[in-house]
Amino acid sequence: MGWQRLALSITLITAACGGGAGSAVDTTPAPAPAANAEIEALYRARTDSARMRFTEADVAFMTGMIAHHAQALVMADLAPTHGASPPMRVLCARILNAQRDEITTMQGWLRDRGQPVPEVRIEGLNLMMHGVAEHHMHMPGMLTQAQLEELDAASGTDFDRLFLTYMIQHHRGAVTMVHELFGSDGAAQDELAFKLASDIQVDQLTEIARMELMLDEMAPNARGR
């Protein structure tokens, strides 16, 4: 299923859930409105000023990681049409879900800081990014066009094996990007950037371990590549 369709369904849910207070029961002994206004103002001021604490390395990380994640979407989108096994489809569904959400978070991070926000368009194997410099399209671990085409040409067990091999490579690249970020002066001082980078690192390391085991459990000599 395609990116457009999921995006649409999320929009619909937003609309369905956004309005009205429902049958909520408000039991809060409400603080005085003046005190509330003061706290809200302080909250806005502090969250706004926290957004000013970032470096070029943080921006480059977010921008590059959006492109990196977007390619994972291209790869995972292939599973249903390439005879992927059910566990591979589960894995791909998780990757799609997780990385779409993280792209949204990273786009929001950039928007909040007045930075160019890359927009992602996927048509088959073609990944189109708007607002991204060419060098951000070639992040560590990303597949070459030839590798993508090789994956697209595979099906069934061959697809599974190739997908795991390439997604491990792809995830390792993301981990490398986090390490590079943390090695940059002034980077990831921002709480959100630290959390996001740290979460990406730990999630993808965990997923790499899982994918290595999935490869291990395929027929012997599966890991020939």
């Binding site: 207070a21 926290a50 979460d199």
Partner: protein, 664 residues
């Protein structure tokens, strides 16, 4: 439905997609959120429908709220220094709640839960500022890159910085109004969380298990830190946890005493076993004569389109024709294991995988000598009888779990619940399109130290994309005779659920607010929510400190609540799980009676008679009360025979007897 990556994969190769179809329903067919409420609807007191948590108005301090079987006693915003900065975990000592915040920590006096009073706000930035207490000591985790040794607010911008703190800060809180910063213990990966182990056999020290998941610090910043994997450098800071020993007489001498590699040899993801429904399906197939093979440790039914040609070839091999005989079937049964092994081979054997590189959280339960570790892709069971040298004795993994976050034991240690913090807590994983098995709790029984998977529990109310939501921190609520847990789901709110029957957990109370921001996801919601001496305290990331009390309902009686409130503990670190014990009270006996009424464990006549006798005993005093209680306990013992809830009847008899003998 198979649930483990390895077995699903093998089964798929062998059996085709049909056997596993329901594992993949997430994106294509949205899992409807009301699945769980449908279960609740069969309960004596159904949850309100439609679920009022759906569609709540957004707002920081004026969001819409929905509450069921709970009462919000107070919401207290943070002190000015902490507003707009993430509130994190909670610890408790005496009448105080200590609330971590990425800017430091706040101490609240909660003696009046309707009006908590700020005692101290200690400004000392570091994420996540997870807090624990032990007697006069307070421990605070630092992981983020901006934490400074001097508690300064300017951050630590250099990639290699002599000012940076990542590890554990130790404070003396003898005078809780004026905490004294004693020392730090720096660690290679910092401290995302930590757990304090008060070893029953060691009164001179406490131990801190440090879990850190961020990248390893450069050796130039902290000597000895190695980011390379262990096969390249045996001193690698990966694939291990840190154990700090804190001498209570000299906490300033706290230091790392060991770095156990508790993950070694985790070659393949062990199976968590199958859910009861899966087992029942296999048993039905077995009874019907199906061919069943073992794939990756789990039984699988072979479809007849596979077995029919195999049987035909056996018939041909013996020179026969026509329908296969019982002997042919027996021969196939005998030959199948070897055929499966030949066809699928064993796991790859060229060197073990090093396992996960870290734990997120470890829950220590010293009274049973065990800990539950939530570590990368695994839930681990650890023997902690030697505090400095924990030993792994069990491991489970789950293809539906992304990232094991934390563990909670049932009070009697017969069950363990793990949470999956899918997306790390900053993502909205409770939308109607997110599967109920992902970002959920997984419940296991624990028999002979073996973990057996039973079911998942996930917040049953769909949340918006503007609300970060996933399973997070919670604690047991000491309702006697039941396993009840209160849990924070970030902006999904808090959910109280009963997991006494590990295969059928059900929600019995909740509180939720609308999103912090109507237009985008802003971090918010309940980071953690814990029961402490009669109240339920929640650390709300953006809004402050919430305190609740339970409200009686058909699902939780007033007597059960009163019995829960009779449990007193001196302090609480939820990651060092205390064992609850209940003083002998009339409320305790009545709580059991209420539960027997709910379970039909005693006839209505007997319930009424026991209640009446408890009432008259309570109205008597001295020897008269004691005699009345003893007179009651004897027949109640006998009621256990033939009761469908005999164990509970015996608990009732025991509670009545304890009440009688405790009165002397």
């Amino acid at each position: 439905m198979p649930r483990t990556a390895s077995s699903i994969r093998l089964a798929a190769t062998l059996l085709g997609a049909a056997a596993c179809g329901s594992s993949y329903s997430s994106q294509a067919a949205p899992t409807p959120a009301p699945a769980a409420p449908a279960r609740v609807a069969t309960m004596p007191a159904a949850a309100p429908m439609p679920d009022p948590r759906v569609g709540l108005r957004a707002g920081l301090l004026n969001a819409g709220e929905a509450v069921w079987n709970l009462r919000l006693l107070s919401t207290t915003p943070p002190a000015a220094d902490f507003v707009g900065v993430t509130n994190s975990d909670l610890a408790f000592t005496g009448q105080y709640a200590i609330q971590g915040n990425y800017n430091g920590f706040q101490v609240w006096d909660i003696s009046n839960p309707r009006q908590p009073v700020l005692v101290t706000g200690y400004l000392c930035p570091a994420s996540q500022s997870d807090v624990s207490v032990y007697k006069n000591l307070l421990f605070v985790s630092g992981e983020g890159l901006g934490g400074r040794l001097d508690c300064g607010t300017g951050g630590a911008p250099d990639a290699v910085s002599a000012d940076r703190l990542r590890g554990i800060r130790i404070f003396d809180i003898t005078d809780i109004r004026n905490p004294t910063y004693l020392t730090n213990v720096q660690t290679c990966r910092g401290s995302h969380t930590h757990s304090v182990l008060a070893d029953p056999n060691d009164s001179e020290n406490v131990y801190i298990y440090v879990s850190g998941s961020a990248p390893v610090r450069p050796a130039e910043e902290l000597a000895g830190c190695v980011g390379a994997p262990p096969d390249e450098d045996p001193n690698s800071a990966l694939f291990r946890i840190e154990v700090i020993r804190v001498p209570l007489a000299h906490p300033e001498q706290a230091a790392i005493v060991s770095s156990p590699r508790i993950f070694g040899g985790l070659v393949a993801p062990p199976q968590h076993g199958m859910a009861p429904d899966d087992i029942a399906a296999i048993e039905r197939a077995r009874a019907a004569g199906a061919f069943i093979v073992d794939l990756g440790g789990q039984p699988r039914v072979l479809p007849s389109r596979m077995t029919a040609p195999m049987l035909d070839s056996l018939v041909m091999a013996r020179g026969g024709n026509g329908t296969p005989t019982a002997a042919d079937s027996a021969a196939l049964r005998a030959a199948l294991p070897a055929m499966i092994a030949e066809r699928f081979g064993g796991p790859r054997t060229d060197g073990p995988r090093p396992g996960p590189t870290q734990c997120h959280d470890i829950t220590l339960y010293p009274e049973i000598g065990l800990a539950g570790g939530a570590c990368g892709g695994y839930g681990l069971l650890l023997d902690i009888s030697d505090p400095a040298n924990p030993v792994r004795i069990g491991a489970v993994s789950d293809s539906n779990f992304s990232y094991w976050h934390s563990a909670t034991f049932s009070n009697d240690g017969s069950k363990i619940l793990f949470t999956d913090e899918w997306g790390g807590g900053g993502q909205p994983k409770c939308r109607a399109t997110d599967p109920m098995e992902w970002g959920a709790d997984a419940i296991f029984t624990l028999e002979n130290r073996e973990m057996q998977f039973k079911s998942y529990y996930k917040l049953p109310a769909a949340q918006t994309p503007e609300e970060n939501c996933v399973a997070h921190n919670g604690s047991l609520v000491p309702i006697p005779g039941r396993d009840v847990m209160i849990q924070g789901w970030y902006q999904g709110g808090i959910s109280l659920f009963d997991w006494t029957d590990p295969a059928h957990p059900m929600e019995i109370a909740y509180h939720d607010r609308g999103p912090v921001d109507p237009d985008r996801m802003q971090m918010g919601g309940s980071w953690s929510v814990y029961w402490y001496n009669g109240v339920i305290v929640s650390s709300e990331i953006a809004r402050g400190l919430d305190i609740f009390e339970l409200v009686p309902s058909p699902l939780i009686s007033a007597n059960e609540i009163e019995a829960a409130k009779s449990v007193h503990i001196d302090y609480l670190n939820t990651q060092g799980q205390p064992r609850f014990t209940w003083p002998a009270t009339f409320a305790l006996a009545r709580a059991y009676v209420d539960q027997l009424e709910r379970s039909n464990g005693l006839s209505a006549d007997r319930i009424a008679a026991v209640r009446q006798q408890l009432a008259s005993a309570e109205s008597a005093s001295g020897r008269g009360r004691q005699d009345a209680l003893l007179r009651l306990s004897e027949p109640v013992d006998g009621y256990a025979n033939g009761s469908r809830d005999a164990a509970k009847v015996r608990m009732l008899a025991g509670a009545v007897r304890q009440l009688a003998t405790g009165m002397r």
